[in-house]
């Protein structure tokens, strides 16, 4: 099974994982790598590398980052050629949920596409949707 790592600042990853449990239940082969206050890139790099190595059962690991350009992102950039990982930034709940439910039937490259699509599709303006419905009602059939 493809492993999942959320690498983020502070305790964000813990929150995402706990929330995902409420919706899809406990997921196997998933870990967090947290950048703590005052922690440097070398220490984070070691933690991420260890986490990937312990989760990679041969099918690779998808690493989800909170912020493109932040330390977890910079550290992952240095590891993409060294480890069998796909790294996607901008993690949100839709992205995580979709990956959890689809990873058994996808390979690592396909899972990257799932992550990108779900992350983007999960962002909507509710006001825009309401405005669209209202204008459709006004126009009639």
């Amino acid at each position: 099974m493809i492993g999942i790592i959320i690498a983020a600042h502070g305790e964000m990853s813990k929150g995402l994982i706990e929330t995902s449990k409420l919706i899809v239940g406990h997921a196997e082969n998933m870990a967090t790598v947290d950048l703590l206050e005052g922690e440097g890139p070398e220490s984070l790099r070691d933690k991420l590398k260890k986490a990937v190595e312990s989760l990679d059962a041969g099918e690779g690991v998808i690493v989800l980052l909170d912020l493109y350009g932040g330390t977890p992102s910079n550290v992952s950039t240095l590891l993409v050629r060294e480890l069998n990982i796909e790294v996607v930034s901008g993690v949100n709940l839709p992205m995580l949920l979709e990956i959890i439910v689809k990873r058994a039937s996808k390979n690592l490259k396909e899972l990257r596409q799932v992550a990108l699509y779900a992350g983007r599709e999960g962002i909507k303006s509710i006001n825009e949707i309401v405005e669209k419905i209202e204008s459709e009602i006004k126009e009639g059939p």
């Binding site: 949920l97 979709e98 689809k102």
Partner: protein
Amino acid sequence: MKHLSEIKQTVRLLNKVGLHARPAAMFVQTANTFKSEIMVEKQGKEVDAKSILGILSLAVECNDEVTIKANGEDAENAIRKLVDLVNSKFGEE
């Protein structure tokens, strides 16, 4: 490989709060255990039954009817399992 026959069945959703996140996830997780291509249709809108985002975007409410369509080697079994799940109200009221 596309199979010629598509199997479909229409069901009415009976749990009070509709297809919110948790039952949607149960539905999608069940769909993902099958090889068949599975779609769900509500009032002409069709989505991938294997996607939580897709199912949630249908905004299925209590008493809404949806049609589950499956195409593939395990289509019959998939429809049966998914219909059973809907009829069980996902273990809710």
